[in-house]
Symmetry: C2
DNA sequence: GCCCTGTTGATAATGATTGTCAAAACCATT
DNA sequence: AATGGTTTTGACAATCATTATCAACAGGGC
């Protein structure tokens, strides 16, 4: 049976209080800075649980860290990420969902998961890049 | 000044000879198995150089490894990857291409690149998993 | 061939993540 | 409120990919 502990609530709360994606390590130190004695391993476990239950989503930063964030909707969705400033926009992609499922099924694959993320430069960073290139 | 070494050519060749994404570690052992005494650090450096020059693409696998593939600008496609045995199937995704471009443009993003890959269990591994779960 | 400088590679170092396991916490039940 | 069976925790060790180090080496212009 799953039990409710203050540690899990703390992680869930800290995630929700944060706007963008945050690393497990950063979340752990954020919790520590508020006086919480929660352990690092526990933060990792809580995040993994949240991700499995669909209450959080995760992605890999270009540097290879796992980043997490509270899921604003229960729906499965994807992200448009600025590769310069990290700004993240949630995007709906029903068409892609069904496409991924279909293409997997057509090739005999089961348990299809997919990685669909779009990286680019947001408006601000595009302007900035243009300015510095000048 | 950049120098031409057989090591860099070996890495470029091995990447090109491979269809899907491959990890730096796997590429290194593949090279070793052909008798090449190339060092692991050199493989990492060569891959980083290729990625910077735009001759290779990289993405993070769900497990956190960095995967690389030769960048064939004239033949952009995606992959259906068995998470158990590594079998890779190339998939066409014109619909996804245009979708990615559109969604980026709609949000003011420029220089849109996208990571679109589907992970699942291939027919053989699905059967195997079912058998061992029994 | 010589010399200067970029490159290599064995190994150590780094840093995130996961495994271990005894102690503590949870919660249904008494 | 006390008990007891189980889950969870957390300090620490272990693991794994990747990066840094640095002396030895090789490319290429002279």
């Amino acid at each position: 049976m799953k039990r409710n502990t203050w540690q899990r609530e703390a992680v869930r709360g800290a995630l929700g209080a944060n706007d963008g994606f945050i690393s497990a390590q950063a979340l752990h130190s954020a919790l520590h800075s508020t006086g919480s004695p929660i352990g690092l391993a526990t933060v990792y476990r809580a995040l993994a649980d949240l991700a499995v239950k669909g209450d959080a989503d995760s992605l890999q930063s270009p540097e290879g860290e796992s980043l997490y964030r509270a899921c604003s909707t229960n729906d499965h969705h994807h992200h448009l990420i600025c590769r310069n400033c990290g700004l993240t926009v949630e995007i709906e992609a029903d068409a892609v969902e069904t496409w991924a499922k279909d293409v997997a099924a057509q090739n005999g694959f089961t348990q299809a998961a997919h990685v669909v993320d779009v990286f680019g430069l947001c408006t601000a960073c595009t302007a900035q890049a243009a300015a510095s290139a000048r």
